[in-house]
């Protein structure tokens, strides 16, 4: 059992308390990453503390820790007792998954418990009924999903990968036959296409998240470039809710700005409020860390002074990370034409996307910026039913893994590894996608070989 698994251990409802169970050798590591407390977490103890994600307090919780082998599963187990409610429970599970756990299959805790010799008679009796109920429901849901858009998408996606596999396998199993050899370049372009298709599906998950939770925004830029002004301006412009919520569960002050049907969460983690020179304060490296936690970066460039090396450094890192961002040239009212055209030229040369020009002071160009943001998070182009995608962590987890395998496959090609090594990763991806729709990958490939290729004596 190499992986660490997690799942919600209680029924998802708006009951008082929910439990998220984590089992596996990384359980404690994961807890240490997301849980802050004044007490030390000892085996067989339960302590009070906070779940913190991206610097934000998610919930006040009780966490217990059972050290292997003295736990339900016989592995290291941590349990998070959080406040009930569907959303908060799911959010915490999501955080646990993001920090290294995989979502547990139905009955997997019990399976591990059994495999580690931990199951006793009475427990087994109780669990057998539970699993039964659970898996029957699962299969009903699975059957429903089989009809659904997601399943159709995955099937189509997978079909081409299975074909690629069949192509690779046929060249391995029938080396002397005159089918067209698969060229590494065409494999790479296929893989790239699949990566972006899967990413697209994953994005819809994020879209769903944006609708529910809002878009986490960071405003970055050099000192005195006008970050606070922009923040205030954005907030005032829409005369939207600007709330300070120094609440009991949330210590961090958060600006929530309504922009049409999107909510922007501009959290103070970036320190915009306290200081205007975040980059100087925490350094380039650290400010880049913020990038891991946001959905959108508004990067301000001082139009009056022109663009600096540092600006480029950060902008290109943002670009490379694939985070959504908008370069914003501020202080247009003070910007000379020559400087502006230099900035625009330099941005273009460095492969940075087209900026939006504003003057936060003069309240100018904010409309454009707002449009840009709306365009980036256009939720109306969602073509899937929300239920299917955005609520299913298992699917998301599997899709993410699929992309990783495809990237691995690409890397192997670029390293010049032979095709059957590349196929290991393509096969893993196909298998992972197959888990979403419940298909047997080996059979599929072999059927495909005979369907597509003319072989034999």
């Amino acid at each position: 059992m190499s992986t660490t698994i997690a799942a919600i251990g209680t029924a998802l409802s708006n009951s008082g308390i929910s439990i998220i169970r984590i089992s596996g050798k990384d359980s404690l590591n994961i807890i240490n990453k997301i849980f802050k407390s004044n007490s030390k977490l000892e085996p067989n103890h339960i302590i009070y503390g906070k779940i913190i994600d991206k610097g934000e307090i998610i919930d006040n919780v009780l966490v217990s820790y059972f050290k292997a082998p003295h736990s339900y599963t016989g592995e290291d187990v941590c349990e998070i007792n959080c406040h009930g409610g569907t959303q908060i429970t799911k959010d915490i599970l999501e955080i646990v998954l993001e920090n290294g756990a995989s979502i547990a299959e139905p009955g997997e805790f019990s399976k591990r418990a059994f495999l580690n010799g931990k199951m006793d008679l009475s427990q087994a009796e109780a669990v057998i009924n539970l699993i039964n109920a659970k898996t029957r429901t699962e299969s009903r849901i699975a059957a429903k999903n089989m009809e659904g858009d997601l399943s159709k998408k995955i099937k189509a996606l997978r079909e081409e990968l299975v074909e690629l596999m069949a192509h690779i396998e046929v060249s391995v199993d029938y080396p002397e036959y005159d089918y067209d050899e698969v060229e590494p370049t065409s494999i790479i372009s296929l893989l790239d296409r699949k990566i972006s298709e899967i990413q697209h599906i994953l994005d819809t998950y994020d879209h769903g998240k944006y609708i529910k939770n809002g878009v986490n925004v960071a405003i970055l830029g050099k000192p005195n470039v006008g970050k606070s002004s922009l923040l205030n301006n954005l907030a005032n412009y829409e005369k939207a809710i600007v709330t300070d919520i120094p609440g009991t569960t949330r210590d961090i002050v958060e600006e929530t700005i309504n922009l049409g049907n999107i909510v922007l969460n501009i959290s103070d983690t970036a320190g915009i409020r306290d200081t205007d020179d975040i980059i100087e304060k925490i350094g380039v490296e650290k400010s880049l860390k913020i990038l891991d936690e946001v959905d959108l970066v508004l990067y301000l460039i001082n139009g009056e002074e022109g663009i600096s090396k540092e600006d480029f450094e950060i902008l290109s890192k943002i670009e490379n990370k694939g985070i959504k961002y908008i370069p914003v040239i501020n202080k247009m009212d003070l910007t000379k034409k020559t400087i502006l055209s230099t900035i625009l030229k330099e941005l273009e040369q460095n492969g940075i996307k087209k900026p939006v020009c504003i003057s936060a002071q003069e309240n100018d160009g904010i409309d454009n910026l707002k449009n840009e943001i709306t365009k980036l998070f256009n939720v109306s182009d969602l073509d899937y039913s929300h239920e299917l995608i955005i609520t299913n962590e298992r699917h998301k987890d599997l899709l993410k893994k699929s992309i990783e395998y495809l990237i691995d496959a690409k890397n192997e090609i670029n390293l010049g590894q032979p095709i059957d090594i590349v196929s290991i990763y393509v096969k893993k991806c196909t298998k992972t996608l197959g888990e979403i729709i419940g298909a047997d990958v080996t059979q599929d490939i072999i059927s495909k070989i005979f369907e597509k290729f003319c072989l034999g004596k």
Binding site: P106, D120, A124, S139, L415, D420, I449
Partner: protein
């Protein structure tokens, strides 16, 4: 008809094809009094189809049989006339050895080995009945009335059971290559309650070489340096540099396809004529030429490989053109191929139908469930191919002996050998068509390489008594050499000297700026053990196989490790044993289909259960919990 007893044996093998020979030799070599019965001694170890041993994944099987102490690899080494390592441009896991064999010599050498084998009698007789008392095998009976007492029977009847040859509208009772079929044994099996099914396969024509214009074909040569099949023959000069004959490549033409299309109604597969139409199942991977022309209608031409049947014959095998069309259509069809314009057939192509069993009625030991001491091996189990047959043969032979000795059977799992994949597929998943081994069927391909078959299996062969002390000692020595060479390569420092960097650049590899270990360089895909020789000063002169193994293990270390992790997970479920006495109907929570399938198949482990079609992950969870409730595993 009088019945008379002609002898007592421990093990009786019915059939002496590739499965029967391995089974009989294994049993005899393990010290059991063994008899192999064959309808015609001149067909012992016959190759009624292509004159070739090995190929992708099949070559792996031969190496595994050899590592276990089997004969196929050694016999192939004695009698090959061309040898080729396939897939060398790909990774080491899929390198596969294939030879063209001298068909008659293969038979002669195998027959000689069998005849000279201590404890083994080879006898020409058709077995018509298997004698069973109290669900236990006690003997066999021949067509002329002789009985033989025995403790175990291995059925290795290939395509002989109720064999029927079909050529166009004509069909007649026959075994392969014009030999008598075994018409009576099927009834004996049915009487024992054994379910039979009907499979079909086919073979192309043999054409006289003097009527072939080879100048219109592409000549295909063997390897310059030959790797023997048998680990025992590693480095033997007479094999490594043996003279070889050529094969030839040509293609079908539009004309060929036209002839076939025009005569499809005369094909027993495509005809609408109910009386003529075949109902048996043929293999998808081995389609007849009419299959190919129908299913791949837009393909302009199909490859044909012309392979010699031996050095002292003019018969040539036309690989790629098996058919069941009428003889006169065949002649037209072959003559439409470049180089075959004046071809004269010596044997026409034909399809053959035969009885086989449902392999899911077997245990993983290849013993029939419900009849003690009755084993099945080879094509009668629904497989196809000489190598697949031989692989089952050696396992059935070993397990018949272990059974007699009241010992645990030898079962190779999917992570240990292609043989394990083959038998698990047949027994656990079952097959609806003649089953062919393929590398894509193996989940742990990277671990199951042909180069390391001895490392995987020699130990097991030695333990059951098939691998001699001498061979085993040699193996242990080789293993030590490999280990030491790997350690040496990992410990050898390489400094970024001018010589080193010049070599690296000449090999298209980036130069070093800091020192590293030799193993780090070896891991680069553009570098090899051989190409690094100039900067590896302390390298000793090692056998080719040792150097190759060390290179592969270092070069692919990361991937092999990854695969090992998957294997470890796989093994966990395999180690959860299920008793054959479990009544799955009593386990609440299993879905109905799973109960039925599990009761029928009685898997030995939870892992095996998980591969039965119709058994879902939810059912597996239920099984695991059931197991703990009953403490069966403790």
């Amino acid at each position: 008809m009088s019945e008379y007893c002609l002898g007592d044996y421990d093990v009786v093998v019915i059939g002496a094809g590739h499965a029967g020979c391995e089974a009989a030799l294994a049993a005899a070599r393990m010290g059991k009094k063994t008899a192999a019965f064959v309808i015609n001694l001149d067909t012992l170890a016959n190759m009624p189809c292509n004159p070739s041993i090995g190929g992708t994944s099949k070559g792996h099987l031969v190496r595994e049989i050899d590592a276990l102490g089997g004969e196929m690899g050694k016999n192939a080494d004695k009698t090959f006339i061309q040898s080729k390592m396939l897939n060398t441009s790909k990774g080491p896991a899929v390198h596969s050895l294939r030879v063209q064999s001298d068909r008659r010599m293969y038979h002669i050498e195998m027959k000689k080995t069998m005849e000279e084998q201590e404890n083994l009698d080879v006898y020409q007789a058709e077995i018509v009945k298997i004698l069973v008392e109290n669900n236990k095998v006690v003997g066999v009976k021949t067509k002329i009335g002789a009985t033989f007492n025995t403790k175990a029977v291995i059925v290795a009847t290939g395509t002989y059971l109720k064999g029927k040859v079909i050529i166009g509208e004509v069909s007649y009772e026959s075994g392969p290559d014009g030999v008598f079929p075994a018409n009576d044994l099927s009834q004996s099996l049915l009487d024992l309650g054994i379910e039979l099914r009907r499979f079909k396969t086919g073979t192309p024509a043999r054409i006289n070489a003097k009527t072939i214009d080879f100048s219109k074909m592409e000549e295909q040569f063997g390897d310059k340096e030959i790797v023997p099949f048998s680990f025992e023959n590693e480095g033997k000069e007479e094999i490594v540099h043996k003279n070889q004959v050529s094969c030839y490549l040509t293609y079908t033409t539009e004309e060929t396809h036209k002839i076939i299309r025009a005569n499809l109604d005369r094909s027993p597969i495509y005809t609408d004529n109910k009386d003529m139409k075949l109902k048996s199942t043929g293999p998808r991977y081995c389609p007849s030429i009419e299959d190919k022309v129908v299913r791949f209608a837009d393909k302009k031409r199909h490859q044909l490989f012309i392979e010699p049947l031996g050095e002292k014959t003019s018969e040539m095998y036309i690989q790629g053109m098996s058919s069941s069309l009428p003889e006169e259509v065949q002649i037209q069809m072959y003559r439409s191929v470049p180089g075959l314009e004046n071809a004269k057939m010596m044997r026409p192509a034909y399809a053959i139908e035969y009885d086989c069993i449902d392999s899911t009625n077997l245990k993983l030991s290849l013993e029939y469930k419900g009849i003690d001491g009755l084993f099945f091996a080879g094509q009668v189990n629904g497989s196809s191919g000489y190598e697949e047959a031989a692989a089952q043969g050696i396992i059935a032979g070993i397990n018949a002996v272990l059974k007699i000795d009241n010992k645990e059977p030898l079962i190779l799992d999917r992570s240990e050998a292609y043989i394990g994949v083959l038998i698990d597929d047949l027994v656990t998943k079952g097959t609806n068509e003649p089953y062919r081994m393929m590398t894509s069927r193996a989940e742990y391909r990277l671990a199951l390489r042909q180069d390391n078959a001895d490392l995987r299996l020699t130990e097991k062969g030695y333990k059951v008594g098939l691998v001699s002390e001498e061979k085993y000692k040699k193996f242990v020595h080789k293993k030590d050499l490999i280990r030491m060479e790997i350690e040496r390569i990992k410990a050898t420092p390489i400094r970024p000297s001018t010589q080193v960097n010049e070599l690296l650049e000449s090999l298209g590899s980036s130069p070093l700026s800091t020192g590293c270990k030799l193993s780090d360089l070896l891991k680069r895909s553009e570098l090899s053990y051989k190409s690094l020789a100039p900067i590896d000063k302390k390298r000793k002169d090692l056998p080719r196989s040792v150097a190759e193994e060390a290179e592969i293990q270092i070069k692919y270390e990361g991937y092999i490790k990854l695969q090992q992790e998957q294997i470890d997970e796989f093994k966990q479920l395999e180690s959860k044993k299920l008793s054959p006495n479990i009544d799955y109907n009593e386990i609440k929570g299993l879905c109905l289909e799973a109960r039925q399938k599990l009761n029928k198949q009685k898997p030995l482990s939870v892992g095996q259960a998980s591969r039965i079609s119709g058994v879902s992950p939810a059912d597996i969870s239920v099984l695991l919990i059931y197991l703990s409730q009953h403490n069966i595993n403790k």
